[in-house]
């Protein structure tokens, strides 16, 4: 029998017992929906985690330090590299050199310093760090109360919630009953902070000073340190910690990068470099953060920077562990999702076995007028397959709808908690295709026994059946 005839007869037969076949098809669709829902959740969570981590800058950032620093992440490099004293300086020309490497989006200096900030005449000592304008996309600033810096040179700051609490004289709380960031931010936004800092001011050039002997040309190596004050407006309060990976060196107050550079704030490296008579007219950085265009190329960039004579650090390996974790999670979710489909497949077997009993005489008639065992078998297979495809399509739609409802519900909850909305449900096209093929395959396997049984029916016995 030709395929179109087979399909037509199968659909006709399914329509004849519409209630039973519909219930079986719904059973399959619930199974597929469960599978789609579980896997969508796994995939969505994986994408969410990846997105979050990418936004956090952990996976597309390489931290570059000079080998002159004692901070050294690469122990192998320590053994093979030249002695720290002979290593290259991480200064502005080097930063520009790194920025011109392929696949590098930007390379910005890590300017951070501990200083005093006064608010309502009360001094507060904390770590201040400079941020480039690209940090706006960091997820820590996604739900910032207020706004990010209006420009790269504006005298503005974004402060961390714990620092805001300190400014207001509140004791920071941890745990579930944390203070809402909006409550802390409201009285501070638009207010002024006064920052006192030590500015490195170049001394008039004098021949024969210590820096003159440097091979880097040390015309500006001598400088004086001047105490300065700058009024800064609080424009934003961040709830999440944008520098969680930095541990104890993380900052709680953030300045625009260009503004920070223009301040020439005294850095710990300045003193060290002048003592080595290595500092030139260009600023020297303790570290440079390199953001890559594509995280896949991070290894190549690290290698290139190492070849330049610097230390690098990235947590690329953590990504691999994360991917492995989600692969295992997806497998488990898939197994749980498939259980419902396994139950549904028993429904298919039951429906088709019932159909054989009901249509015993019909099978006998078909055989008497020339149907082969193969024709009968294929007909039952087609019926099982049709239920599988229909159930699969309905299941995918149902699974998608369940995902949307849960997503919506969760986002309503997040909104009530003053948290940003999230999209942690993903139904990629390959999952749709997989679910349909899987439902079809399971249905065909379920149809094996009934189809074989129908094909083996003795026509004489079947024709006697009433």
């Amino acid at each position: 029998m030709k395929l179109p005839d087979l399909a037509e007869l199968a659909l006709r037969n399914l329509r004849e017992s519409v209630l039973r076949n519909s219930l079986t098809t719904i059973g399959i669709s619930v199974g597929v929906a469960s599978l789609v829902a579980m896997l969508s959740l796994g995939i969505g969570l994986q994408q969410l985690a990846s997105r979050r981590l990418m936004k956090s800058g952990l996976f597309d950032t390489v931290v570059v330090t000079s080998r002159r620093d004692l901070r050294n992440f690469g122990r192998d490099d320590e053994r093979t590299a030249p002695p720290p004293g002979e290593s290259r300086i991480l200064d502005e020309p080097t930063r520009i050199e790194i920025e011109h490497l392929p696949n590098v989006m930007e390379a910005y200096p890590d300017i951070r310093f501990i200083t005093e900030l006064r608010y309502e005449d009360k001094p507060h000592l904390t770590m201040v760090a400079a941020l480039p304008s690209s940090a706006k996309s960091n997820d820590a600033f996604e739900a910032v109360q207020g706004q990010f810096f209006s420009s790269d040179i504006s005298p503005e700051v974004v402060i961390q919630k714990t620092f805001a609490e300190e400014l207001l004289g509140k004791t920071p709380k941890t745990g579930l009953d944390e203070t809402n960031v909006a409550v802390v931010a409201a009285p501070l936004l638009g207010k002024e902070l006064t920052m006192r800092y030590a500015q490195r001011e170049a001394a008039p050039s004098t021949a024969g000073n210590a820096g003159a002997s440097s091979d880097q040309g040390a015309a500006g190596a001598a400088y004086s340190v001047v105490s300065r004050e700058l009024k800064l407006q609080i424009v934003g309060v961040a709830d999440l910690d944008p520098e969680s990976m930095r541990g104890p060196t993380r900052a709680r107050v953030f300045l625009p990068l260009k503004l920070a550079e223009s301040l020439h704030v005294m850095q710990p490296t300045d003193l060290r470099e002048i003592s080595r008579a290595a500092a030139g007219s260009q600023p020297v950085y303790s570290s440079v953060s390199v953001r890559v265009k594509n995280p896949a190329g991070i290894r190549a960039i690290e290698d290139a920077i190492k070849k330049m004579g610097f230390n690098t650090f990235s947590i690329l390996d953590a990504t691999r562990s994360l991917q492995q974790f989600f692969a295992v999670l997806d497998v488990f979710l898939g197994i749980f999702g498939s259980l419902a489909l396994a139950v549904a497949s028993i429904g298919i077997v039951n429906t088709l076995v019932m159909a054989i009993l009901e249509r015993r005489r019909e099978i006998g008639i078909m055989k008497a007028i020339g149907a082969s065992d193969g024709d009968v078998k294929r007909l039952f297979f087609a019926e099982a397959g049709a239920m599988g495809i229909l159930g699969g399509i309905l299941g995918v739609i149902l699974g998608w709808a369940i995902g949307q409802v849960i997503n919506l519900g969760t986002n309503i909850y997040l909104k009530r908690q003053s948290l940003p909305p999230e999209h942690f449900w993903a139904v990629p096209w390959w999952l749709v295709a997989f679910a349909l093929v899987f439902a079809f395959g399971v249905s065909l396997v379920s149809g094996l026994y009934p189809a074989g049984r129908a094909a083996r029916l003795d026509p004489v016995q079947a024709l006697r059946y009433e």
Binding site: M1, D5, I365, K367, I369, S372
Partner: protein, 250 residues
């Protein structure tokens, strides 16, 4: 279906059964439904198998139809031993060589008459367009052109049997096997059906083997009357009274 005059029988036996046996086991008991039947039916003949209930006439018909396999002996149809055919070959034999009509019509209830009639053509993988025209032609031949889209339950017994006849003949078989074709019909309708069967036998040269327990009906239409009792052939008589009997090979 074109009508041609093939009413003359020829000398070759269309069906030859030799020492045909079909035994069933019911626990420890062996039921000998067919027990050593040997017979020959010639091409174009109209033969009636007669006997009381349980005589084995339907079992013989099922063996000739290829619906059942003999326990021993052989059935040779057109020089092919059915016992030697595989299940697939038997299905093809039933599809192309045999047309069957049953007492209870055996139309598929969920299909219209047109769909019932074209069903064997689906198994024969005939193109849809050709199927439609052939089904229409066959139903017109049995006078059911106006009932093509009706389901069997909407028709009388006589109409259903006419539709079953149309289905049996749709693939132009050489053998028409009828198992009590008038058993569920009143005498008037039964006569109508039998007239049609005889017409197919005479005009299409189709070999007809009919199972019946009505001797009068058999004597009216069949050229030979074969009597069975307890699975054995007890008598094989020429029926000189049958219409067209003179054309049979006696």
């Amino acid at each position: 279906m074109s009508v041609s005059d093939k009413s003359q029988t020829n000398g070759a036996p269309a069906i030859r059964a030799e020492q045909l046996c079909r035994h069933y086991k019911m626990g420890e008991t062996v039921i000998r439904a067919v027990d050593g039947v040997s017979l020959e039916v010639f091409s174009g003949e109209f033969v009636a198998l007669l006997g009381s209930s349980g005589s084995g006439k339907s079992s013989v018909l099922n063996l000739i139809a290829g619906l059942d396999r003999p326990t021993s002996g052989s059935v040779v149809v057109n020089d092919r031993d059915l016992a030697q055919l595989s299940r697939e070959e038997l299905a093809r034999y039933r599809l192309h060589t045999v047309g069957m009509v049953f007492q209870s019509f055996n139309l598929i209830a969920s299909m219209t008459l047109a769909e019932n009639v074209e069903l064997p053509m689906r198994f024969a993988e005939i193109e849809r367009g050709k199927r439609d025209s052939l089904a229409r032609e066959a139903l017109t031949r049995v006078g059911l052109q106006s009932r093509m889209s009706h389901r069997p339950s909407e028709l009388s017994g006589g109409e259903q049997q006419r539709a079953a006849l149309a289905r049996a003949l749709i693939n132009r078989p050489q053998l028409l096997l009828a198992d009590e074709p008038t058993g569920n019909l009143d005498s008037h309708t039964g006569t109508e059906i039998m007239d049609m069967v005889r017409e197919f036998n005479e005009k299409l040269g189709m070999t007809v083997v009919m199972v019946t327990h009505e001797r009068a009906l058999a004597e009216r239409y069949a050229q030979r009357l074969i009597f069975l009792a307890d699975g054995k052939l007890v008598s094989d008589e020429t029926n000189a009274n049958a219409v067209g009997a003179e054309r049979g090979r006696l």
